[in-house]
Amino acid sequence: MAKDHNEWERPLRELEENLQKLRELAKKEQDSDKRSSLSDRIQDFEARRDRYIDVMYSNLGPWEKVLVARAQKRPYTLDYIQALFNDFVELEGDRRFGADHAIVGGPATYDGRPVMVVGHQKGRNIQDRQYRNFGMAKPEGYRKAIRLFEMAERFRLPVITFVDTPAADPGVESESRGISEAIAASMLKMFELTVPTVSVIIGEGGSGGAIGIATSNRVLMLEHSVYSVIPPEGCAAILWRMPERGADAAKALKLTAQSALEYGLIDEIITEPKGGAHRDLVEVSQAVKASVDRHLEALLTLSPTAVKTDRYDKFRAMGNVLG
């Protein structure tokens, strides 16, 4: 069982490194015959690389989805904002305690339409990851989100949220300042909104931390993203007292987009580029856009009251109850 995406993609990375070396050799090679032979080998390697990607990504198991969803190279919220939005003005204050960097948000235009965009943000290098608290928002983050949701309501801006967090911050400070209340209040605020809301799970949909900003009219999931009530390692620790059995827990938890759709908990799966979202930001952004557009269009035909009712009815129906 691979521990992370990096380890899991190692064979592929080695293939690509070899490929790169061949290309450099070919570039330097003067002899035309040898160059032609190198070219053949390059084509062969490229084909193998493509087949490898096909095989690896065509039938990802739940644990592999977890690895891909957590991949350090995976596009994050600000990448999608950069790709799909204009005029983004990040607003940072919660007006209570602090400026949280694990949730970003603010007004922007989307296809020329004024909207409010909010999302978890992970960091890509060591400093940035610390600055973003590994995408784990504190109460301040959710209270900022609440402010932005209120603003969206006041100015009739549709809301788009990007969900990508391992969990809400579980530290002592977050407990002290009411992380539970902040998450619950954020959900409650979203249910009060009469403007349309669309959420996209782009990576890790980690438990309460995720749903805190994901109670939208439409919830879409990227093909290889995951959404779970508990991290698989935590589940394995409880079930078998063996965190290392995360892969088994991932399977038991049915945390894939495909399962979520099957249980009627999300509205659509957004297909990722071949080999995962991290291989083509442009393509995945356009796929996200196409899906968001379609759902937003539909929601924009509803009256404010109908928007709220639609959202209530959607979540009201969730559950599996006998008798």
Partner: protein, 289 residues
């Protein structure tokens, strides 16, 4: 802070008139799991399962809680027949459910219905920690949601006693979605102008604390209850900051502004009655006009 089932399960003469459980043991004495003192069973019962020596509030079953909270003979149970499925076909889940049913005599970790408190009607839900740690799966979510919806529809206050370790892992994402569903139902109460009072009892944790429990109009708690988002172990690992001695107790949560009052079990019923009467007056007027 005891997390294991408390002494109350060993009580002989049951005060709990509504209980489905047979009163088996006939022991006249029992031992407080907190202060280890020996208590006369009758005293323990009369003291509402609060230790007369150390004041520890021992956990109550849902039926027992109802008996000491609502007016006699006013509780009408709703949705008693709802049972959990096993949507994920999760390892050992059906077995765990059966065991819990056998142990507690109920179908899931919560009892809901209509009742009166000092002659004022309320829609009430009481969680029961003894059923799989009071965890919230689809049944819990559905019953809480219906409790809040009934309050909104009838224009009467909602009262919810929380006691839960959090979401029910065995129902996966369906369980997480109960956080959303129950919170949405709170919005219904707000729209209807009916008050919603939640009471944190030992323990109120994680997915329950981070959803319907924390967005009540008024939040009360029993003394010393364990209340928190993450397991204390997780919190300690995550934060570099020192962990206060009273971390994740009702007293800690109270001093941090997350709840309104810590109420002794003996005063809970009268406090609820006052709140229901005052805060529910607007909805009553609307209903009667």
């Amino acid at each position: 802070m005891p997390l294991r089932p408390t002494i109350s399960f060993r009580v002989g003469v049951s005060y709990d008139v509504l209980s489905n459980r047979a009163s088996t043991s006939g022991g006249a004495f029992l031992q407080c799991s907190n202060c280890k003192k020996i208590i006369f069973s009758v005293d323990f019962e009369q003291n509402l399962h609060v230790c007369p020596y150390c004041g520890h509030h021992h956990r109550l079953s849902a039926r027992h809680r109802l008996a000491i909270t609502v007016d006699a003979d006013t509780f009408v149970e709703h949705d008693a027949d709802l049972r959990s499925g096993d949507p994920l076909i999760f390892p050992d889940y059906p077995e765990k459910l059966s065991a819990a049913e056998t142990k507690t005599g109920v179908h899931d970790a919560i009892v809901t219905g209509l009742a009166e408190i000092e002659s004022l009607p309320v829609s009430i839900a009481v969680s029961d920690f003894s059923f799989m740690g009071g965890s919230m799966g689809s049944v819990n979510g559905e019953k809480i949601t219906r409790t809040l919806e009934r309050a909104a529809e009838k224009g009467i206050p909602a009262v919810i006693f929380c006691a839960s370790g959090g979401a029910r892992m065995q129902e996966g994402l369906l369980s997480l979605m109960q956080m959303a569903k129950t919170t949405a139902a709170v919005e219904r109460c707000r729209d209807a102008g009916v008050p919603y009072i939640s009471i944190f009892t030992d323990p109120t944790m994680a997915g329950v604390l981070a959803s319907y429990a924390s967005v009540a109009d008024v939040i009360l708690a029993e003394p010393k209850s364990l209340i928190g988002f993450a397991g204390a172990r997780v919190s300690k690992q995550a934060g570099v900051s020192k962990v206060p001695d009273d971390f994740q107790t009702a007293e800690f949560v109270h001093s941090h502004g997350m709840l309104d009052r810590i109420v002794h079990r003996k005063e809970m019923r009268s406090t609820l009655a006052t709140l229901v009467r005052i805060l529910g007056s607007g909805a009553r007027q609307k209903g009667s006009s």
